[in-house]
């Protein structure tokens, strides 16, 4: 099997570590350590970078679908339009495309969340909770700092 990008990144980080051992300039060593840390994070994320975004899109699309059932008029239309765009991009797994779909869904979610905060009713409350859950899951996936400190 060919060495994959994570293995190559690991090897690159090792080279940088070896180089840093021979250095004396504190500033340069700190910069090099920064690069090594980034390489190790990229290495860890490589395998799941598409699937994590697909999962986020799925979570937010579910929320948009539920939101569409609770809303009407222009708001419902905007949610349906966002969902149609998700369907259109469903077979495009480029990270840039997944990011664009996710951003567009997040914009829709911001509007929905704001509306739900001013709405009463058990279904509204349940969807508010569901949004917090989805956002927390997203933030946990994006939490790259906790493992470092």
């Amino acid at each position: 099997m060919r060495p994959g990008p994570p293995q190559v990144m690991q090897a690159a980080a090792k080279v940088l570590e070896e180089v840093s051992l021979g250095m004396t300039d504190e500033q340069e060593i700190t910069r090099l350590r920064g690069v090594i840390t980034l390489l190790s994070i990229l290495q860890g994320e490589w395998d799941t970078c598409a699937s994590a975004r697909v999962a986020s899109i799925s979570r937010y699309a579910d929320i948009a679908r539920r939101g569409s059932q609770l809303t009407e008029g222009d708001r419902r239309e905007r949610l349906n339009l966002a969902l149609a765009r998700v369907d259109d991009a469903a077979s495009d797994f480029r990270i840039s495309s997944l990011e664009a779909t996710l951003d567009q869904l997040k914009t829709t979610i911001i509007e929905l969340q704001r509306w739900l905060e001013d709405s009463d009713g058990p279904e509204h409350a349940a969807l508010r909770t569901e949004i917090w859950r989805a956002e927390y899951e997203d933030a946990r996936n994006e939490d790259r700092n906790t493992p470092l400190w």
Binding site: E26, Q27, T30, R31, G34, V35, T37, L38, I41, D103, K106, T107, I109, I110, Q113, R114, E117, T129, I131, W132, R133, E135, Y136, D138, A139, R140, N141, E142, D143, R144, N145, T146, L148, W149
Partner: protein, 344 residues
């Protein structure tokens, strides 16, 4: 600029500014960590009229073309001038401010270098708990002294604009919301939700408008073997609610995963509050503190976003700027949801 070039240009400037023709500069080194300004340390040497050799360590704070924050050099310098010599607030002596880019390629100011390090080993050594506690206690005692200063008595009312007691929170929230807007990196539903929550449930009016350092934390103060020697990095200083500084210094960003309940691996927040209350002469309002702790996530994310935006726009190729946006925003949002009490 390399060290040798900086030394040559700094020497030329200092000869003129200090009126000493034989002044020389050595040991020029750029200090790591400053993201909003470039900081250089130098040794200036000259002979007195009677032939006695003199040496003075100096710090140059330069405004880079791309900065983590749009900060006001004049304000920061004014803070040093206004508070230098104030009992209980150790500061480096400010010496010169220079708006002309000719001397060093950027505007800058100069101050005396004080001994100490922002990250003393005691903060990390397991067997230095007592010493570490003493350092961090002092940090909060000094913060209380800053909060105790009457800004009008030190003539800062002409430098900083005081908000009203009712809307100090709104001024800061709007400031950082605008920063987020001006450095848009894409939709941030969590941060937006936190901003709405902060607006829905504002803190009580401030008891007294005071000086707020704006970035008071481990890393922005110097410690020597004798304790705290200097409070640095005043570029985010403003007038407002002193709870803001307490909340910022309590943030999880400056805590360790191994001792998350302690500030800087040393002190429980209640102990820090006791130190602060003793020197500030004020009482902490838990409701206000909670509001400002939640606000901390908005402010921090505005800073991380600004850094990432500057990098994305190609205004800097500093790795630190890219790293801040990429590493920290998700973590900050996760903490915000936990502090908001809505995390599952």
């Amino acid at each position: 600029m390399d060290s040798s070039t900086f030394a040559t240009r700094a020497a030329a400037y200092l000869r003129d500014a200090m009126g000493i023709s034989d002044l020389d500069v050595s040991n020029a080194r750029k200090i790591i960590g400053g993201a909003s300004r470039h900081t250089w340390s130098v040794d200036a040497r000259w002979d007195d009229a009677d032939g006695t050799s003199q040496m003075q360590g100096l710090i140059f704070r330069l405004d880079p073309p791309s900065s983590l924050l749009e900060s006001n050099r004049g304000t920061e310098y004014s803070m040093y001038r206004a508070l230098y010599g104030n009992p209980g607030i150790p500061l480096p002596e400010p010496l010169f401010i220079e708006d002309d880019e000719g001397a060093l390629g950027m505007p800058f100011f100069v101050m005396r270098r004080l001994e100490g390090t922002p990250w003393p080993l005691e903060l990390f050594m397991p067997d230095a708990q007592e010493r570490r506690q003493s350092f961090i206690r002092q940090m909060f005692s000094v913060l209380g002294s800053i909060a105790a200063v009457d800004y009008q008595a030190v003539a800062l009312d002409g430098v900083l604009v005081p908000p009203s007691r009712d809307d100090a929170w709104a001024v800061e929230l709007e400031r950082w919301e605008k920063t987020l807007h001006d450095h848009d990196l894409g939709p941030m539903p969590i941060t937006q939700a936190v901003i709405r929550e902060l607006r829905r449930d504002p803190p009580p009016p401030v008891a007294q408008i005071r000086i707020v350092h704006g970035d008071y934390r481990v890393g922005n103060v110097l410690f020597s073997a004798d304790g705290l020697t200097a409070v640095l990095d005043w570029e985010m200083c403003h007038l407002g609610d002193p709870h803001e500084d307490l909340a910022w210094s309590f943030a999880r960003n400056w805590r360790s995963r191994t001792t998350p309940g302690k500030i800087a691996n040393a002190l429980a927040p209640d102990d820090a509050i006791a130190e602060w209350e003793a020197t500030s002469g004020m009482r902490v309002d838990p409701e206000s503190l909670r509001w400002w702790q939640l606000f901390t996530h908005v402010k921090a994310n505005a800073i991380w976003t600004t850094a990432a935006h500057e990098f994305s726009e190609g205004r800097t190729n500093e790795l630190m700027f890219a790293t801040m946006g990429w590493l920290l925003i998700g973590t900050q949002e996760k903490w915000a949801l936990e502090d908001l009490g809505v995390a599952p």
